[in-house]
Symmetry: C2
DNA sequence: GGAAGCCAATTGTCCTAACAAAGATTGACA
DNA sequence: TGTCAATCTTTGTTAGGACAATTGGCTTCC
């Protein structure tokens, strides 16, 4: 039975069960524990780390709910098989590209702090004539234009600067202001490009466009972003993991 | 403060926290509790139902993780706003269309019970030369061709008949055999159609194609389906709800 | 040698208890 | 009257203990 080294800092403000869950997750994700490997039982783990059983159970439950571990009463706990280990995440294109080592570059093409756009306003649950913060950006991976992004945000974000946007992800800017997108509804489709889009994304004649519109909400259910994005079909695809029930 | 009637059966083999969670969920889903309504606090609920606080917490945690409730320390618990209460589901195109009242029709174009297709076999974690069950289907909404679907299944499904497939959804056929797809990884993209696809889907020149490939797994992580689908861009789009963390 | 039954190991459920932290409310004081 | 501090309410974290249910292996008996 492999014992994973775990360090618990009782002085830290982060909950013990979460410290533990993080370190166990890391051990699985970096391959220290392989799929199918047996996992130290919860009593032993609690004893070894000087934590109570409920605390250890809570940490393990977190990994189980993410599909990293599988438990069977009377038998034990094991690392789940490879394919189950993924989860849906709310990420942005920027973060996706960074993870793949693609070195994303953002070019801000247009900013309008008083944009009246009924379609966007209604997606944000605001009156149709509400002036919104609007930004159009082009994302490049190296030299290749990858995505053309149109985003509308509620008026309280109209002080966002071009510099902030150029430096990285829109979600990072929002999070820096204490706003956390928690749920988003996305619609993914395809269509023919318009001529502006063809030019901006450097498309050849006949090239299709992959499109996504997104409405993102915070924990209270307040709409915080409406996005309308176009992607080069040969540069981007959406990976989605769906679960039953 | 609305008190929801809850009946707990301590003699039942179903866990108390689950009985409670079910009844609370029902109250939200049938509209007894409306979005934004305050929710009885956990101490009061525990007291009223004669349950311990951890048991009540566990039930509430279940609803929170499904996005039905929102909690804030020091403030209380409330029913989440409408937009949050949705969940990703593993459904099929057939079921999607049925829900929208579109009256789907399936036409089986090709069946091969011994198809050797290395790309599909490897997606199913089988040796590349494994003979697979292959079916090509065209889905129509009324008269309009909507999707062209290619699916490969492991050899144990090679007794599936054309009649079964014509009658409805592939997933329904699988479920009737006691196989439950639980997780699927989908990749959604766009591309130019090939000429067969143009003909089958009755596309005009220059029309793009929306594509999706899917690998579906059962609870044990066994691959049970590989699908490669094309959709008419003007007839179909994917709705995806993503959650943070 | 095989089968039935028992036992140990492990996870699952449930309870009591205590204290911490965050937000809202109240009240005292300037 | 306005502001700050104390207090109350509510959720969050952690602990410890008891017993139940399931599984797998071992032992014993035929």
């Amino acid at each position: 039975m492999r014992q994973i080294p775990v360090l618990i800092d009782r002085a830290s403000p982060v909950p013990l069960y979460h410290q533990l869950a993080e370190q166990l997750t890391a051990a699985i994700e970096d391959g220290t524990l392989q799929p199918g490997d047996p996992f130290e039982n919860e009593l032993a783990l609690a004893d070894r780390l000087d934590l109570s059983r409920p605390t250890v159970r809570r940490a393990i439950a977190e990994l189980v709910s993410r599909g990293l571990l599988v438990r069977r009463r009377g038998v034990g706990t094991a690392v789940a098989s490879e394919v189950i280990h993924r989860r849906d995440e709310l990420t942005s294109l920027f973060e996706d590209m960074e993870r793949k080592g693609k070195r994303p570059v953002t070019r801000v093409l247009d900013i309008n702090r008083q944009s009246v756009t009924p379609r966007a306003a209604s997606a944000l649950n605001l009156p149709a004539d509400t002036p919104l913060f609007y930004v159009e950006r082009l994302r490049l991976a190296g030299d290749i234009p990858t995505a053309l992004m149109h985003n509308w945000l509620p008026p309280q974000f109209s002080d966002i600067t071009e510099e902030e946007l150029a430096s990285g992800s829109l979600y990072a800017v929002l999070r820096a202001r204490g706003v956390r997108p928690v749920v988003a509804h996305q619609t993914i489709g395809a269509r023919k490009p318009r001529s502006v889009e063809r030019k901006r994304l450097d498309l050849s004649p006949g090239d299709p466009l992959l499109t996504m519109t997104r409405r993102a909400y915070d924990a209270a259910g307040t709409a915080i972003e409406f996005g309308d994005h176009c992607y080069r079909y040969d540069q981007y695809a959406f990976d989605v993991t769906v679960h039953e029930r």
